[in-house]
Subunit: 100 residues, 2 copies
DNA sequence: TTGATAGGCAAGTGACTACTTGCCTATGGT
DNA sequence: ACCATAGGCAAGTAGTCACTTGCCTATCAA
């Protein structure tokens, strides 16, 4: 459903996770955890990150593959295409402000 | 900020409102209310729609103009561009972009 | 085997949020 | 003046959500 996609994007921590996976795809849970606490100063438990990843996977934004005791997380931005399809975005005549 | 944008998109009723404004921009509050109940069978109060429109306006997705006792609501999809800018979306299934 | 690492499951809690209810202001028509 | 229309403000409520806590399973190395 479209609902899962937008609900997944609604949380700032999940968007940061997507940013991290954009920078380096195929990270494990612990790798994402340490990056969130190091780079983004996010004091967050492993379980919380795991739950966020489950939501992202439910939205189709993250795909996982298991190898031994490791589980790698890959980014999939394809579902985002439906947003631009649903509400057509005009050409960038004047670029807007930057992201946060 | 970016948070307002994604929070605004997180609600299905607000996304339906965006759909309605995509179809016909410049609607008043009552016009949107009646369309939601007619076309989409949404039993929702006027105040609820008003609050949704305030959230959408806070996200920059809706702009308003007053004329007398009427307040018209216009769609602005420009903020959506930042989503595709933040997480690049691949081209759909092998359609390479050759500038013909 | 033991121990350490990588991850999962489930219940509980606090905060947020969508919606309602009730009352108020402003504009336009008669 | 009157009254209906168009919209706004604020408090209360029920449901959802992010996060924690605690315990469990699976894989690998010694």
């Amino acid at each position: 459903m479209a609902d899962d996609l937008f609900k997944a994007l609604a949380d700032p921590t999940r968007r940061t996770i997507l940013d991290e996976l954009t920078e380096k795809s195929g990270q494990t849970l612990f790798e994402i955890c340490s990056r969130l606490s190091m780079k983004h100063r996010l004091g967050i438990s492993r379980q919380a990150v795991s739950q966020h990843l489950a939501v992202l996977e439910g939205a189709g934004l993250v795909e996982t593959r298991r190898e031994g005791r490791y589980k790698f997380h890959d980014l999939n931005t394809a579902p985002l295409r439906r947003i631009a399809e649903r509400w057509p975005v005009p050409d960038p005549s004047g670029t807007e402000e930057s992201t946060s």
